[in-house]
Symmetry: C2
Subunit: 331 residues, 2 copies
């Protein structure tokens, strides 16, 4: 078997490849390990719970409306830590760079990473740099791994019947920004990536109520994230289409491109399952932060399985996990 593009697209097909790549017998350091396929691992060290995660970033183009590969590299890892309840402390930065890459672009990328770090009080503490000869790599790959500390670990598998589903904001912005920009759409510049480091917002939400489950809807988008959350928890999720926050410009671009905005990556959003009694308090906390001002209650959890959307015209349709994110090199 050969690796194909869908193996890296964050959807159903990716599972085939993951079954090979995760076949480690040495896969757990005493906490939450590789087998859980969560946003990060948890390692008990002394009396602390260390959260640990990694992401390699290959987004193309490297500069796009609303962000760049540097902002994604920091935000992606900060957000994976935050999804586990971890305050981001320290990140690593390993760059693989194509020979001939412009050093001025590198400077912009480093400055952008630094700004994102500053937003959440984290630091790049260690790094590595490799240069590949022309023809061996197109552009740059930036890997960031991250260490956080969690007082209370949150899982992506913790949904409970009775929970309310909250989205911290509009869906589809990042994936459509990348696609519209690539296609040279006139409306391209109106659609900006949502890429942002979310710890500050998540910290407020964690303090406001009982969050049972959290996940950031990156590759494969909301459709993939909510299906993974429902399936891991063994519950049914009902989504209210009318409540889904999606920008008009994103809807238009998605329609023109024939892409479902629920299936493309977001880089500055979280989907939460919250105890019903705490939903309003968590919503207020999210909305009090600049990255959460469009937060909305979008559904609820019941017993059963699968994810169903109540449509605007009163019907119902399944939201399925996509085969894979329709946007290649989205992050």
């Amino acid at each position: 078997m050969k690796v194909n593009l869908m193996h890296g697209a964050g959807g159903e097909v990716m599972g085939e490849l993951l079954s090979v790549i995760t076949k480690f017998e040495n896969n757990n350091a005493g906490g939450i390990g590789l087998e859980s396929l969560d946003d990060g691992a948890v390692i008990p060290v002394g009396d602390q719970k260390i959260v640990f995660t990694t992401d390699s970033h290959v987004v193309h183009p490297i500069f796009f409306p609303g962000g760049d590969i540097g902002r994604i590299a920091v935000s992606g890892t900060v957000n994976d830590l935050a999804m586990m309840g971890g305050r981001p402390i320290a990140l690593s930065c390993a760059m693989v760079i194509q020979e001939g890459f412009d050093v001025a672009d590198l400077e912009r990328i480093v400055a952008s990473m630094d700004a994102a770090l500053g937003e959440v009080g984290a630091s790049i503490v260690t790094g590595d740099t490799k240069v590949l000869e022309r023809g061996s790599l197109d552009g740059i790959v930036i890997n960031t791994a991250g260490i956080g500390v969690a007082n209370h670990v949150v899982r992506d598998s913790g949904l409970l019947p009775g929970d309310v589903i909250i989205s911290s904001g509009t869906l589809g912005d990042h994936g459509l920004a990348i696609m519209a920009h690539r296609e040279g759409f006139d409306l391209g510049e109106q659609i900006r990536s949502d890429v942002a480091p979310l710890w500050g917002m998540v910290e407020k939400a964690l303090a406001a109520g009982d969050i049972h489950a959290m996940k950031d809807p990156t590759r494969g988008g909301f459709a993939n994230a909510i299906n993974e959350m429902a399936s891991k928890a063994g519950v049914h999720v009902e989504i209210d289409e009318e409540a889904l926050p999606i920008r008009t410009s994103v809807r238009s671009a998605a329609a023109m491109l024939g892409i479902d905005p629920l299936e493309v990556a977001n880089e500055g959003k979280t989907i939460m399952g919250v105890a019903a009694d705490d939903a309003e308090a968590v919503l207020r906390a999210l909305r009090s932060h600049k990255y959460g001002k469009d937060a909305a209650i979008i559904g609820r959890v019941t017993e059963g399985s699968g994810v169903v959307m109540k449509t605007k015209i009163g019907g119902e349709r399944f939201i399925e996990a996509p085969i894979g994110d329709p946007v290649p090199r989205v992050c």
Copy 2:
């Protein structure tokens, strides 16, 4: 300015690029940070000292005499942790894979990583996978970041006048194995990479005596490592050529290729500065481990600066830091 191959070759020229890439204001989490350019960072968490490091691996070919990219990916990170005195606990594994890559090769790589992890009791606990379209990447890039716990942190800057310099074994094996294999030398198969995870050996050495400084001579080889150690500590190092452990086959291949075996990468060695009174005990500890049986005292530290080698014929010559490792994609 454009990035060139020497910017990633671990020698003097790499400093130019590092001055750009390390320009983070957010660069330290309260312990040892990016500014120290050591083998890893140290982060205080509760009452523990967490060691944190990262490496992206691009070795070509991915299978070579004595090892493969998987064994390097685990060993490189385990060794960076060990060089700081850190017991390796948990590693991340982020793969960027070219479309069309053979899944059977991936299985071999994962099995090799798993075996190396098993040698030192560490685990892969979190991961990420991206697939790049044909033409965007040649082969596979594997990033591993690692977390260790140190009772006593060792720096690469700790050499003191009076210290003895110890090499844990023969020098130049990895770089020459890669080059000889690429060139199709008949003696290629006699030269095997030394790639190995060193924590078990380092742990014995740390228990045996007072180790003031430690570094693994990877890109740029021994010549680069010993110059960095001398320069960071502000001391002079005198190396005894006759004491340097170099295999005859490595010497021959190096001569044929016009490469200095002291300037190429090792992937299973450490260079230590040890208090003179403890040197014999540390040497015995190293030799009691399978990866240290060729350990030798190779020099001593005095006041001053620079690294000089006393040659076999009674002369002296400077050992300079190389411009860069002469073997591209060596690790």
